[in-house]
Symmetry: D4
Subunit: 222 residues, 8 copies
């Protein structure tokens, strides 16, 4: 049950053993130097670093010291893969309702890929033109799990849930205005989905949905 004490942080170097994936850095509210120091501790322990909610300024400091670090701007993720996670069979679908939901969908996709999963990206299939979704039914059913990202009224997970038999994880986004209340409307819509078995993560939490889907995909390995 080890950890590395950096004073401002206790890096959980035992996380990978307990949970199957190494600790991930939530970069928001940390100084670039803190992100760098935690990255180094994780690299040494696990060989893989994923930082979410990273800023360009944080990446710049990390990149200066660790040149092979990568930055995914739209996804706001930084990654360092000295010892990449092993590749898993099967695929995870990341579906999003509209173009404006892409940053959250990409955070999910990058997380999945760092964790060794294959990703199917399907974009802009909101219920206002349901035919755009219906043509994708077989592709969705062929995946081991489906992440559905949507803002505004968040109706897409219900529609997807009516079509496929795989686990569905819904991610509400803060896309919208007025009575979307920063994603509350989508969140409540998803929690009350008439599509049985939809589970939900926090608003804009693409990372969390990917983490759950990766955990599921691991179970599906034969």
């Amino acid at each position: 049950m080890s950890y590395v004490d950096l004073g401002f942080a206790r890096v959980d170097t035992n996380r990978k053993q307990r949970r199957g994936f190494p600790e991930v850095i939530f970069c928001a509210g940390k100084t670039p130097e803190e992100v760098l120091a935690i990255s180094r501790a994780l690299l040494q322990a696990d060989g893989v670093v994923l930082g979410t909610r990273a800023t360009a300024a944080q990446f710049e400091v990390v990149h200066r010291e660790i040149p092979h670090a990568k930055f995914f701007e739209r996804a706001r993720c930084l990654t360092i893969e000295d010892k990449p996670m092993p590749k898993l069979d099967g695929r995870i679908a990341v579906v999003c309702a509209g173009t404006s939901d892409l940053p959250v969908a990409e955070e999910a996709a990058i997380t999945l890929e760092v964790f060794g999963n294959n990703v199917e990206r399907i974009c802009d299939v909101g219920v206002a033109g349901i035919h755009r979704l219906l043509v994708e039914r077989d592709r969705l059913e062929s995946c081991n799990a489906v992440i559905v990202v949507a803002g505004m009224e968040g109706a897409l997970p219900s529609a997807v849930a009516g079509l496929v038999s795989k686990p569905i994880i819904a991610v509400p986004t803060s896309v919208g205005y007025g009575a979307s209340f920063g994603g509350i409307a989508a969140l409540l819509g998803m929690l009350n989905s008439c599509g049985s078995g939809v589970t939900v993560v926090n608003i804009d939490n693409g990372f969390g949905a990917a983490y759950a889907a990766a955990t599921i995909n691991r179970l599906a390995q034969k």
Copy 2:
């Protein structure tokens, strides 16, 4: 600009002339005797009475004095039609997502019928089994307006809005539990609908939706 002053109420006998439909009694919070007195004033002025949110106890007192009064239990409406409103051409669809939404849908349907409209009732076509809705596309498109009644996540209006070109009025219901918050989830879902042009009324307000639809149907008369 006349009215009848009953002391506890000023019955707006000019309403029909200004707005096209007579005043309707919101029975909640009134004594049975008050409902009866207002009914009499409206009968004398307009020949038609519609009471919404009526209880059996209120109806009993009215019925004793005015035996041809009718009560619609599920819709919680009482009606007296000495001079029925003229019949209008065309039809209004009243669509509901689930069986539990029926009381609100029936309030809408009874209101529409008292106001002279033909009603198409379509029940239990929630998005969890979207094929049940898709088969009704032509019937919906053939109506002059579509009222969509749904609780829980309130996704049905968005799905309907993706299919037809007619005005769509969404009614959130208080059906649900937990984070449906008495209909807030459905209300927010409908207000944020990605289906352009959906308009919304208060939670459980079948009457208001019907009033708006009847106003629209009047415009559609050739």
Copy 3:
């Protein structure tokens, strides 16, 4: 049931056939290049582009490539009309409570005009000086629908609803401070209007109100 797949977006080129109006671009959260690419796909399919919530930066990129594009700053709309929509008979009133509500009212008005409707603009008739509204009664009644835009307590739709027999669509705005809570006070006021038949759209959603009114006006064509 066609669409054009741009990767980041699936442009619904079948929308106009199903719903009567072409897809409209919700520009918020899109890059200027994405707005341009969607504009081109819509121009080719429908000959008409309307972008709402557009910024000057988005317009600039579009305008460089499509010089006859127009920008309406207060309404935050961009339009391109190669094949303008056919003109409809009758008029739609756009009423606003105060000067500060103008951006939302103009979004409604521009949308209506792109969709072929004639617009009556009536500004600053809030209930604090009800005589300013009462003098407009006949003009309002002569329209096929009335859009009422108001912030703060959102009382204007109730007052209008007491005067005219036409469909009334209320648009709450985020104008106000303190306990207006970004438009919640106006939204709740309108949802609870004692003026029967008032329907409501999202806070600041001038576009949605116009879309609904245009749908209604189409029904009113003889």
Copy 4:
């Protein structure tokens, strides 16, 4: 700075001297015996008792011991007036939007009368039929203050504020359903009134409005 200590209550027998009116019993949550004991202490000190939110069960116990106690059922008030408060000149208007608001309006009216004020009751003048209010303009202007009681969207105080020059105190009521949220819609509407100078009390707090109006009326005495 005296008080009477009953153990479960410290009756503020100095209140009348400091504030001009004696302490009033908020009966909710008290046993009938506690209401009786406090009533006796107040009778001895001030000669006048007003209990608000009183139940029939509480009144019964008080009435058995103090036979000249009175109960106002709709207003939920009990009163005992051994030494009635002196009568004031001028009148206070108590205006209510609808019949269902009467319990709150009556609580205000009874409080005003116990405190020595003349009351003008004006009922059911909601904005859905504004002509019913406009005919009362002169009567309202002739009063020293106007209490406006309304539920649902709470628009009536704004309309009244547009017409008269006297202090206006708005009382939101819990009348309504759905998105009225137990009076929140009316409360927010009144707090955001575009009618300058409207002040507001708690939902259903007819007593508080009357107290404030009585304080104002005292200033108006010549």
Copy 5:
């Protein structure tokens, strides 16, 4: 894409084929006769009936006609298993924080069992005595998924998530008082869990969590 139209309901007899599990009856708001009629349609199509949120009165009517129907009082579930679902390998843990959360935990457990899953019940392991949870680490890790049911502050899923590598589905309950706001505190706690990958369902929605876990368990079958 079939369904059976009962007028008040369209029973989705195609659900099992699309989603792997037959339609489940949400009994709230339905008459006993409606529950019976839907049960019969589902029995004929799928051979298995699960009704959630069932009352004793609903069960009584069903039981009179279908004597082998069973009722689980604490779980509020009724079941009829003419053709039981096939048994799956592996186990699902249902963990609950306190005794008062048992009704929700039992709804999850009964649903899992009807869907062919083995259930491990672990009760009263809230974080106030974390040693009661720590001793169960191995048992939890040996399951294919973990459902965690908790009210009040809903901290248990975070603690579980720190210990095991399997998918974790959190169910907030309405257990608590005051600022638990009917389960909002637990819901928000779970959505914001620092334990990566926790997914959440609606307040008191034991059924939904079980449905998701059963979908996951199906993937884990070799």
Copy 6:
């Protein structure tokens, strides 16, 4: 019942006659040119202009054209007094709980002075050091009305209400952080004040409190 129609605004030149005070410009959301144009219309009609929520940029444009316009920075008010309102007898107290509440208190004070009232300013007498308030009891009692401005928990009006017999108008401010929720805590505190007869205006609405107090003071003139 006159008004001046500027297109973007209908200036209510009849306001002073109906309500006793001229229309006041709510500057938020208006262009400087619009503020200037409305100012000119009001100057011509009433000879007095008060603009609230004014910015330096708005004032600059007005001041260039009307050099005797004044700007009160902390109060965010602009004034032009060609024909000052007549001076009233008596005084109004403006009490504030802390230094940070001064902008709202000053908005109230400037409004009162433009409307002809004498103002007693009493600052920083919050309940954390109640002796600072108790020494002011006589000064407060000598005024015709007391405006109490407070943020955070908003307890000051209750304390003042325990001491004096004059009308008390409470103004919650947005001063605070965290669970003050932009003034909601103070607003709710004031609405639930155990000090009978406290009336409340919107968060940060110093203007509204002053308007009400000025209306009251007019009644107190002998």
Copy 7:
């Protein structure tokens, strides 16, 4: 790190050693038989039982089997003291704002007494008559901690905090109506108290406040 597993509950028999006080039974949502079984386990381990939120029906079953069990109706507490906790020096004040807050205050007082503390009860000293509180200053200062129980606006803890130097624990109650929102107003008021160092517990949580105060008092023992 022991516990007793009753199946439906794991009684934490190690609690007293870790935390200084034995586990307390939160009776809400438990059957009488469950309360009895847990009571027996606790009696055997610790010799002292305290049950909060207990009903008469629960007590009756416990009392039948354990005749020396006691029930405190207003406090909703049941106690069994085979081996009473040792008596502590010093006193804890339990102050309440009004008579209606007594049930919560008594829950605090009974808890304190079972835990070995001396209690000073001070009732009905709300800020509307601040002199009733000021006379108690010395008595409050002489205690080791002060629990302040208040509903409505919850201003009393701020006033107490201005007077004494001892730890102050505030308990908001659900006493009030309308915008008290079941205790939210009081809760927010206390969290935003300008009286430095006030800490707060859940609405109506007299037990929690007493637990904290008892923990503090233990520190104060010489």
Copy 8:
């Protein structure tokens, strides 16, 4: 009962005598000059100044005039200690869940130190890796009080409360996103903690927690 009247502020020079600690400056919303003036008044009266929520700009003005003033950037505190408070025996633990919570934890730590307390800082021991906390049990138990600072779901205080017997004060922080709602999730979690006796302060209120803890520590002095 003295104070110094600066016009814009009444500095409570009697505070230290009544409450044991001098008045502390809440710098938010004050001009640098006001902070300086209050600092001087407090220096003269008490010899110690603590300013919270201070900005660099405020500090700069103070520092220019009082060169030995100190600024703690992360804690946003300024201090001047001419006559430092006497040192107390014992220690207070300040525990924080994650690195992002450090500003709030530091505000608590600086406040404690200015008030004469020894501080144990323990950082990044969130429940996602509970072993990082368990190793600190003895250190926590050895302190006289424990302040627990956490954002997101705020579960840490419950975990700490399960381990130690000392008073625990929980500070929710605004760290998080989406449904953390600026700290509401953490606040509600802490108010509903199953760890008996946890008391709570406002979101981000490190100062308040420290004040309470210092008050407790004073009681613990032998």
